[in-house]
C-alpha cells in the first residue's frame, strides 16, 4: 500500500488506490480539523453563547418556539425561525402593524409594569436615563423559581449576547441558566435578593430593544406562559390543585415541593 512497504509498486492501480484512500482520509481529517478550529475561533471571539443558543433553539419543543405575534393573534400558530431575535427580522415590522385580535387581561396577581420591557426567557429590562439598563427576573419567573440558594452572576466587564447565558441560579437540585435579554457589557451587580440582578451597558442604537416585548403584547405572552406553566404542572401528581383559576402563590417551589422543578424551571427559562 505504502511506498517502501513490501508489495508496493508504482503501478497505476496502486497509485489510484493510494490516492483515493489518502483523499478520503484527508477529507475526513480536514473536516474534523476545520470544525475544531472554527470552534476555537467562535469560543475566542465570544460567539459561543449565540451559537449554543442557536442549537438550543432548534431543540426547543414546538410550543416554546412560537412567534411573539402568535400570542396576541396577529399570526396564530406561527413558529419563529430566527431564535427569538427580532432585531433583524423582516416580518416582525409587518406583523407589528396588525391589530391584535384577542382581548388581553393579565392573569390575576401578576405584575408586569409598562415601564419595563420583557424577554421570552422571563427577564425584564428597564432602560435607565444614564444609558444603562437594569435586568431582573420577571414576576412569573420569580414565582416559579422562588428564592434561589445560589446565584452565579457574571463578573463586571463580561460581554453578554442576546439569548446567551446571563447568570445561573440553583435551588433544591434545580438549576437554570437565565438567558440574557440584551447585548452589552455588565457594569454592576444588584443587591442579593433585590429587584434587579445586573446593570448592563447595552449596545448602541434603537435596535438594541426591538426584540423585547412590552405593553399588551407582553401581557398576551404572559397569559400564554401561565397556561403553559399550568399544563407543565398539571401532568404532575399534585398538579390538579393548581388548576382552579386562582392567583399564583409567591413561591411555587415551596407550595409544590414534589413537582419536578428541574424540568419545569428548564422549560420556563428556555433551557434545553
Amino acid at each position: 500500500m505504502f511506498p517502501g512497504v513490501n508489495g508496493f509498486h508504482w503501478s497505476p492501480v496502486h497509485i489510484i488506490f493510494l490516492s483515493a484512500f489518502g483523499l478520503v482520509l484527508s477529507v475526513l481529517l480536514v473536516t474534523l480539523a476545520v470544525a475544531f478550529f472554527r470552534t476555537l475561533r467562535d469560543v475566542r471571539s465570544g460567539r459561543a453563547g449565540a451559537i449554543a443558543w442557536h442549537c438550543d433553539f432548534e431543540d426547543l419543543p414546538r410550543q416554546e418556539r412560537l412567534c411573539r405575534h402568535a400570542f396576541e393573534g396577529a399570526a396564530p400558530g406561527r413558529l419563529c425561525d430566527r431564535g427569538f431575535d427580532c432585531r433583524d427580522c423582516e416580518t416582525h415590522p409587518k406583523f407589528a402593524t396588525i391589530e391584535t385580535r384577542w382581548p388581553v387581561t393579565l392573569p390575576a396577581g401578576l405584575e408586569y409594569p409598562e415601564t419595563r420591557l420583557y424577554h421570552r426567557g422571563h427577564t425584564w429590562v428597564e432602560p435607565q436615563p444614564d444609558g444603562t439598563a437594569l435586568i431582573g427576573l420577571d414576576d412569573l419567573g420569580a414565582r416559579v423559581f422562588g428564592a434561589p440558594e445560589v446565584v452565579e452572576l457574571p463578573a463586571p466587564g463580561t460581554k453578554l449576547s442576546v439569548n446567551g447565558a446571563a447568570w445561573r441560579m440553583m435551588r433544591n437540585g434545580a438549576s437554570v441558566s437565565v438567558r440574557s435579554p440584551l447585548e452589552g457589557e455588565v457594569i454592576a451587580h444588584g443587591a442579593p435578593g433585590g429587584q434587579w440582578q445586573l446593570r448592563v451597558k447595552p449596545e448602541a442604537g434603537e435596535r438594541a430593544f426591538r426584540h423585547l416585548l412590552s405593553g399588551a403584547e407582553a401581557h398576551a405572552w404572559v397569559n400564554a406562559e401561565t397556561d403553559r406553566l399550568m399544563i407543565l404542572l398539571s401532568s404532575t401528581p399534585t398538579g390538579a390543585a393548581l388548576a382552579d383559576g386562582g392567583a399564583l402563590v409567591a413561591d411555587l417551589h415551596q407550595a409544590l415541593p414534589d413537582a419536578p422543578w428541574d424540568e419545569v424551571s428548564a422549560a420556563m427559562f428556555l433551557n434545553c
Binding site: M1, V5, A48, D262
Partner: protein, 417 residues
Amino acid sequence: MADMAWVPTTMLDRKFVPRGVTRCTPARFSLWLTPWCLLLGLGLWAAYLCLRDGLLHTNMDNRFAFGLWIFLDLAIIAFGGGAFFSGVLLYFFKLKELNAVIRSAVLIGFLCYSGAVTVLAIDVGQPLRAWFTFWHPNAHSMLTEVTFCITLYLCVLAVEYLPVLLRNRQFRKIPSFLVFEWELHKLIPVLAGIGAFLSFFHQGSLGGLYGVLRGRPFAFRESFGIWPTTFFLFVLSAMAVGPSFLLIMTRVAEWVTRKRLVLESVYVRLARVSGWMLTFYVLLKSIDTMVWLNSTSRRGGFLPWEYYSWEPFGVWILFVEIGLFGFVPALWLMRAGKVNTSWLIAPALLACAGVALNRYVLTVQTLSLATLPFDEFLSYTPSWQEVAVFGGVVAYGVIVYSVLYRYTRLFPQEQER
C-alpha cells in the same frame, strides 16, 4: 422504551433524557434491555470460543469456507445503505422531509457497519492479523476494496453521528461542545459526499466479491472495466432497500415506543424513493440474469438448468427473487401516497427479503453447487456459535439504539405531536 405520561421526579437518569419528550422508567427500560443483554452475553461467549479454539466451533468447512456470516454481512450492509442514500437525498437532492429520520438513519448505518465488521473479525478468526490488509493490500482484490471502504466509512459514520451525541442534555452544558456540533453540522454535506463515494465502492465491491469468481460459474458475471455487473446491481439494490429498511425500523421503533415519531409524509417519501430505485434495480437485474443464463454461463461450459436441478434450490428461487420480492414491492412502494400508508411496511419487508435472498443466493447457493462434474451438492447448517455471534450483534444494535433513543433526540419530530 415504552410510553409514559410523565417522567417521574424519582427517575435516576432524568437529567440525561432530552427535555420535551417522555421516556419510560429506568426499571422498565432495564426490563426491555435484559433479554437483549442476555443475547449479547451469549454472542460474546460464542465469539470467545471461536477466538480461543479456532473456527472448528463453526460448521464451515473447506467447501463452505464462507458461511452464515458472509450472507448476513452482505445483507445488513445492504440495509445499512439507507444511511448514505438518505444523506445524499437530503443534502444533495434537498428532500427536507428526510431530516426527520436522518439521525436515526446514520445511527442504523453505523450499527449495521460496526456489527458487520465485528462479525467479520470473529468469523475470519484472526483479528490480530487484520492490519495485513492495510499494510500489504492487493489492489486487485475486491475484498481489499471492501475492507478499506468499510473501515473508512465506519469512521465517517462515527463522525456524522457525533453531533447527535453532543446534543445530549448533559454534554450540551459544555458550551464548546455545542459550538463544535454546530460547526461540524455545517460541514456534514462534505461527509455525506465522501460517505456516498465510499458506499458506492464498497456496496459495489461486495457485489463484485462473487461476481469476479471465474471459478464459480454460478456467480461469475460479465464485467464493465474491472467490475462485474453484480458491482452495479449491489449498489442499486442497497439504494433501493436502504429507505425501505429505514421505513421498517422507524415503524418498529414507533411500535415499541407506542409513539408517533415521524410524520406520515416521511413514510410516503421513503417508500416512493425505495419503489423507484427498486424498479430500476429489478429491471437491470432481469436483463443481467438473461445475459448470464444465455451467454456468460454457457461460455464456461455450464448449462443454466444444471444450477437449478438441486432441491430445494429450484428455478422458483429466481422467480421469487425477481417477481414476488422485486416487481411486486416495487410497484406497491411507488404507489405510496395513494395506498394506505400504514400498510407500506409490507412491501418494504418484501423488498428487504428480496435483497436478502439475492445475497443468500450469491453466497450460500454458490458454495453449495459443485463445479467439478463428479463432485456433490453440499448443504450447510450453521452451528449455534455462528448463530449466537450474529444474535449478539443484533442485540448490540438494539441495545445501542435503545440507549441512544432514550438519551438523545433521534427523531426531531417526536416532540411535535
